[in-house]
């Protein structure tokens, strides 16, 4: 096992946030699902049924994505800067660990913590099974989509962590990136369709006009709700964009790590 992963997991789980964050996450997710249930039951005048199940599932999936987008920078953006701040970075770089091992240890530890949150959230998402309208496939594809989007954001957080010396700066810029990709891309799309005059349906929009949305993790999740045969082209395009973003951030981080001895 990569010693970086063992060290990172060991240290992360010793921190107070190692148990506070999962607890808070479950409380918030549970509260939102309960609220969604009451609102849906009130609106549909039924306490069970497919409408209620779908409403609970979609609310839980979006809430999970939103919470994890808020938490991801905390795990990733401080990963390398903390080594610089506590002056252990030089020891890592002068050891026989390769830049890839250092990166992978940090990436895997961050992603594993996100996975822990996703796994403990599965029972909450699965409550919708009891109401109908949602099957294992929907839960599976929503989780896969969330993991891929969060993996890309983890890689981006690690990139900023390799650029800056202070965790506070890396975390701020990672949050700015999250906002840019979730909110700004959506606003750009809204502006684009408001000036578009050649049709109002999704099929009328050119590829370039949809591009900002392909960068949007919430849109990516929304596309995962499509039936399996309709995942192509939009979900697949989003998948390509997020994999590309993750790989680009990874490549740049490794490049930075190879030349970061001067700031160690």
């Amino acid at each position: 096992m990569n010693p970086m992963i063992r060290k990172e997991l060991n240290l992360r789980m010793r921190e107070r946030r190692g148990w506070i964050l999962p607890s808070l996450y479950l409380v918030v997710l549970g509260a939102v699902v309960t609220l969604a249930y009451y609102l849906s039951a009130l609106e549909n005048r039924r306490v069970q049924g497919a409408e209620v199940g779908v409403a609970i599932f979609i609310t839980a999936a979006y809430t999970q994505m939103a919470i994890l987008l808020l938490l991801a920078p905390i795990f990733s953006a401080g990963s390398l800067t903390i080594e610089k701040e506590q002056r252990t970075f030089a020891s890592l770089l002068t050891s026989l660990l390769t830049p890839f091992q250092i990166w992978f240890g940090k990436f895997a530890a961050s992603l594993l913590f996100v996975l822990l949150l996703i796994v403990i959230g599965i029972p909450v998402l699965s409550i919708s099974f009891a109401f109908g309208g949602i099957g294992p496939w929907e839960v599976f594809i929503a989780i896969i989509t969330t993991v891929i989007a969060l993996g890309a954001f983890n890689a981006i957080g690690l990139y900023w962590s390799s650029v800056f010396r202070r965790s506070v700066h890396a975390t701020a810029v990672t949050y700015a990136t999250v906002i840019a990709l979730t909110v700004v891309t959506f606003i750009i799309f809204i502006i684009e369709i408001s000036v578009w005059r050649e049709g109002r349906s999704w099929a009328d929009f050119p590829w370039s006009m949809k591009l900002p949305l392909y960068l949007n993790p919430v849109f990516f999740l929304t596309m995962s709700f499509a039936p399996p045969r309709h995942l192509f082209p939009e979900w697949v395009r989003c998948l390509g964009v997020f994999v590309f973003l993750g790989l680009l951030a990874t490549g740049l981080t490794l490049w930075n790590l190879r030349r970061s001895g001067e700031v160690a």
Binding site: P3, K7, E15, T88, A90, L92, T94, S95, L97, E262
Partner: protein, 311 residues
Amino acid sequence: MIQISELRKNFNGNRALDAFSLEVAEGELFGLVGPNGAGKTTLIKTLATLIKPSSGSVRIAGMDVQENRDAVKQITGYLPDQPGVYQDMRLREFLQFFADAFHVDRERQSPVIESALRRAGLADRSDAFVEELSFGLKQRLVLAKTLLHNPKVLLLDEPATGLDPIARLDLRRELQQLNAEGVTILISSHILSDLEDICTRVALISNGKNAADADGNQIIQLRRAAAPTQIYEVEVLGSIENALQATTSVFTATVLKAENSRLLVQLAGSKAEAAALLQSLIAAGVQVASFAPRSTTLEERYQKAFGGTKP
């Protein structure tokens, strides 16, 4: 063991190292002295493979440090000027992590870690958290971690900074012990007396260049090595004329300075020559008030070389 030739390093147009050259022999305990910003840390980081030189050549055990980074890391231990630790780890876990990071065989890890803890005097605290240690003990732990893979060359950047006198003495003893075991050590320090006591030779660095002391020496041979000559300070009562006359009768004696009642005489290194000079002075009826060897301390040389500023 360490060969640095015409090393240059620029940072954003500023020259941190400027044609610096140095050779350190195998088994030497070599010192590097210079004022703040002289380029000591840049030089040691370059040797530790952290910094890529702008030009020039840096070799350890015949290997270029940039072209053979892994091989150089395998035989090199680097202790940064501000050594960092993982506060939330236990001492044993900390050493275990670096044993893994330096690819120490799994079967050998346990004895290697036990031995490192014993050597650092931390064996009875192996399950304590690093944050519970004092600064001096953390420094010992980091040195122990640096030695886990049995490096042949140790690069120490101001290792005594922040240590109390006892911890400093411990460190000095530890370095002497390692050197006696055959480890080549390059150590930079502002604590000149520490270098003077343990180093065989010291290089001077200023503005990234090789600097020289007032006598033009870029490398200062310290007392531990056999000095070719020894200077004696003689104070006499009354006129020094008789003393000057008596001095000329000793074959290896050269009068360097004679003023008022004091003479500075350079003699060949042996104590027999000093005894002969003293005997000659007394035989000539010179009243000797004091007769003592005088060595130019590293601190004096440093002050002469760098305009009297003491770090």
